[in-house]
C-alpha cells in the first residue's frame, strides 16, 4: 500500500467544495459508516505497519511447529507449513487492499470514461458499447473472472486484471445512464450554447455528475470484489503460494477445519471483517450521498 496516494486523496478531499464536506460529514455521522471507516482505517494502518507488527516472517516455514494451536508464541496458531498465521494475515491485509484498490481503479477508469463518452455522444459507438456490456453482463462475475484468470494463468496481477475485466461494464452502464440524463440538463445545454467544446463540457459538467453515483456503486461493490478474489483463490485460480492471500489461506485451511480450526477460521474472520468495513462504509456513503434517501422516512 502506497501511503502517498492516500495522502493525496485526503488532500483532495480537503479542498473539495463545502457540499462534499457535508457529504463526508453526513457519512461520518452515521454510526455504521463511522464503524466502517474505523475498520478500514485500522486495516490500512495494519497493512502499512505489517513489517513492524508481524511477529514472524509470513513465508518462513517451520515444519516442526506445523499446525500449532493458538498460543502465546503464535497468537493465531500456525498453518500446515508452520508459518505464523497472525503474520500471514497482517501481510495479507496488504494484498487484499491492493486487489481492492487496483481493481476499483482499473474497472472505473475503463468503465466510467467509456460510459460518459458513449452516453454523451450516442450513436453507433454507443450501441456497440451496450452490446459489449450486454455480453459481459450475461455472465456471473466469478465465472467470467475464472475463465479469464484461467486463460491468463493465475497470478495476483492476473486476478486483478480478470476481476477488473469482469467488473468494468457495470460502471460503463452506470456512467452512461448518468451522462445520458445530464446531456439533456439545462445547464449542460447552456454550456454548449455559449460555445463550450465537447471536451470542456464533458470535463466540467458531465464528469462531476458521474463521480458521485460511481463512488456510491464502487463503495457498495468493494466487498464483492474482495470476495470474488477470495473465491478465485479458494478454487485455485488466484494468488500463488507462498503469497499470504486470505482466500488461498482459507482454501489451504479447509482441509484442517475439523481438527485445526484456526487455520481457516482466522483468515475467514479477517476477510469478513474487511468486507464488512467496506460494506458499512458503502451503505453509509450511499445514505449520505444519494439525495433520494436523505432525510426520508422519519
Amino acid at each position: 500500500m502506497d501511503s502517498s496516494t492516500l495522502r493525496s486523496a485526503t488532500d483532495r478531499a480537503a479542498v473539495r467544495p463545502p457540499r462534499r464536506v457535508g457529504a463526508v460529514g453526513r457519512t461520518l455521522r452515521n454510526p455504521l459508516s463511522l464503524a466502517g471507516v474505523l475498520i478500514i482505517g485500522a486495516l490500512i494502518v495494519l497493512a502499512a505497519l505489517a513489517p513492524y507488527l508481524a511477529p514472524y516472517n509470513p513465508i518462513q516455514t517451520d515444519v516442526i511447529n506445523r499446525l500449532q494451536p493458538p498460543s502465546r508464541a503464535h497468537v493465531f496458531g500456525t498453518d500446515a507449513l508452520g508459518r505464523d498465521i497472525l503474520s500471514r494475515i497482517l501481510y495479507g491485509t496488504r494484498i487484499s487492499l491492493r486487489i481492492a484498490i487496483l481493481t476499483a481503479v482499473i474497472a472505473t477508469s475503463i468503465g466510467a470514461p467509456l460510459g460518459i463518452i458513449t452516453g454523451y455522444f450516442r450513436g453507433r459507438v454507443d450501441d456497440l458499447l451496450m452490446r459489449v456490456t450486454d455480453m459481459f453482463m450475461a455472465f456471473p462475475r466469478l465465472i467470467l473472472a475464472m475463465a479469464i484468470a484461467a486463460a491468463l494463468r493465475p497470478t495476483l496481477e492476473n486476478v486483478i486484471i480478470a476481476i477488473s475485466l469482469a467488473a468494468w461494464p457495470a460502471y460503463a452502464r452506470l456512467a452512461r445512464s448518468v451522462a445520458l440524463a445530464l446531456r439533456e440538463e439545462n445547464y449542460v445545454e447552456a454550456a454548449r450554447a455559449i460555445g463550450a467544446g465537447p471536451l470542456r463540457v464533458l470535463a466540467r459538467h458531465v464528469f462531476p455528475g458521474v463521480v458521485s453515483p460511481v463512488t456510491i456503486q464502487l463503495s457498495l461493490d468493494m466487498g464483492g470484489i474482495i470476495l470474488t478474489a477470495a473465491g478465485l483463490g479458494f478454487i485455485g485460480f488466484g494468488a500463488q503460494p507462498p503469497t499470504p492471500e486470505w482466500g488461498v489461506m482459507i482454501s489451504e485451511g479447509r482441509n484442517y477445519i475439523t481438527q485445526q480450526w484456526w487455520v481457516s477460521t482466522f483468515p475467514g474472520i479477517a476477510i469478513s471483517l474487511f468486507v464488512l468495513g467496506f460494506n458499512m462504509l458503502g451503505d453509509g456513503i450511499r445514505d449520505a450521498m444519494d439525495p433520494r434517501l436523505r432525510g426520508r422516512g422519519r
Binding site: 475467514g268 468486507v275 451503505d283
Partner: protein
C-alpha cells in the same frame, strides 16, 4: 409488446453469439490441452495424437469454430470430452439440481430479505435498524464457501440437526425423473419420504447460497421502502388514521416492489456464481460444479454448452424482470 419481446430476443441472441465467440477464443488461448487434461500424464504420445484427431482438435481454430456453429445450428451441442456423453444430456442431468438449489435459495432470500428490509425501514434510524443492518452486513461479508464449511461443521457434524452433503440420503432412492427436480418428482410420485429427505438436504446449501441474496434484497427493500414511506400519499394514508400495518403493507410495499423485483431477478441469475462454490462444498451435482470441472479440464464442448445455457438464463431473467416491471407499473411503455 410482442414487437418489444422479439426485439429483445434478437438483441439477446446477438449478445449470446458474441459471448460464444469470446468464450471460444478464451478457451482456446488457455495454455493447456484438453486432450492431455482428460488423458492425464501417463498416456502415450500416439494415443494423445489419435484422440486429438478423433475429436478434430488438430484442425485450425476457425474450422473448429465453424464446425461448432454448424452443429449448434442443428441443435447439437457436441460431446463432452470429460464425460464421454452428449453435452445436452449432461446439462439435462445437472441443470435441474442447480435450478432446485437456486430456486430454494431465492425463495429463502426473497422471503427473509423482504421481511428484514421492511422491518429495518420501519425502524429506520433507531438502534434496531442499525443492529439488523449490521447483522445483515455481516452475512454479506462472509465468504460463501467459508460460511458453508462452518455451517456444515456446526449443523451436521457437531449438532447432527441437518443431513450432510449430497441431494438425498444415500438409501432413499430417487423418485422417477419427470422434471429432474427431486422435490417436484417426489411430490408427483407421492413419495413423501424422498421429499422429506430432499428438503432436509436442500435446506443448508440453499441457506448458504441464499444468504447473500437475502442481504441484498433486504438492502434494496429497505432503501425502496424508505423512499416510498417519505411520499405524500403515505403521509396521507397515515393522516387518515389507517393502521400502521395496512399503511406499510398495502400502500408502501406495493409501490416499493418495483426495484425489489429487479434485484430479485438479478440475484436469481447471480446465484449461479455462488453455486460454483456452494456446490463444491456441499457435493451438489449441479451446473456450477460441472462448469468448474469443464474449465479445469478444458472440456471445450462442455464449456460452450454451459456458456450458452447461462447466457440464455441471464437474458431471459432480464427480460422477465423488465416485463414484470410493465405489469406492475403500466406507465412504463416498451419501446
Amino acid at each position: 409488446m410482442w414487437a418489444y419481446i422479439v426485439r429483445r430476443l434478437v438483441l439477446a441472441s446477438i449478445a449470446i453469439f458474441g459471448v460464444l465467440v469470446i468464450v471460444f477464443v478464451l478457451s482456446h488461448v488457455i495454455p493447456g490441452d484438453p486432450v492431455v487434461a482428460i488423458l492425464g500424464g501417463q498416456a502415450r504420445e500416439d494415443v494423445v495424437e489419435a484422440v486429438r484427431q478423433r475429436w478434430g482438435l488438430d484442425r485450425p481454430l476457425h474450422e473448429q469454430f465453424f464446425r461448432f456453429v454448424g452443429r449448434l445450428a442443428r441443435g447439437d451441442l457436441g460431446t463432452s470430452l470429460a464425460t464421454n456423453r452428449p453435452v445436452a444430456t449432461d446439462l439435462r442431468d445437472f441443470f435441474p439440481a442447480t435450478i432446485e438449489l437456486a430456486t430454494t435459495a431465492i425463495l429463502i432470500g426473497a422471503g427473509a430479505g423482504l421481511a428484514v428490509g421492511i422491518f429495518s425501514a420501519v425502524a429506520h434510524g433507531k438502534w434496531l435498524d442499525h443492529v439488523v443492518r449490521f447483522l445483515s452486513l455481516i452475512g454479506l461479508s462472509m465468504p460463501v464457501f467459508w460460511l458453508g464449511l462452518v455451517l456444515l461443521l456446526l449443523l451436521y457434524a457437531r449438532l447432527g440437526w441437518l443431513p450432510g452433503p449430497g441431494q438425498l440420503d444415500i438409501f432413499v432412492s430417487r423418485p422417477p425423473a419427470v422434471t429432474g427436480l427431486i422435490t417436484v418428482d417426489a411430490l408427483l410420485a407421492r413419495d413423501y419420504g424422498a421429499l422429506g429427505s430432499a428438503l432436509s438436504h436442500l435446506l443448508l446449501p440453499a441457506l448458504v447460497l441464499g444468504s447473500h441474496a437475502l442481504v441484498g434484497i433486504a438492502r434494496i427493500t429497505r432503501a425502496s421502502m424508505l423512499e416510498v414511506l417519505g411520499q405524500d400519499y403515505v403521509k396521507v394514508a397515515r393522516a387518515k388514521g389507517l393502521a400502521e400495518r395496512t399503511v406499510i403493507l398495502r400502500h408502501a410495499l406495493k409501490n416499493a416492489l418495483l426495484p425489489i423485483i429487479t434485484v430479485i431477478g438479478i440475484y436469481y441469475g447471480g446465484l449461479l456464481e455462488g453455486a460454483v462454490l456452494t456446490e463444491t462444498v456441499f457435493a451438489w451435482p449441479g451446473l456450477g460444479r460441472y462448469a468448474t470441472n469443464a474449465i479445469l479440464s478444458q472440456d471445450f464442448a462442455a464449456i460452450m454448452g454451459v456458456t450458452i445455457l447461462i447466457a440464455l438464463i441471464f437474458s431471459l431473467a432480464n427480460l422477465i424482470v423488465d416485463l414484470a416491471y410493465g405489469l406492475l407499473n403500466p406507465k412504463i411503455r416498451y419501446g
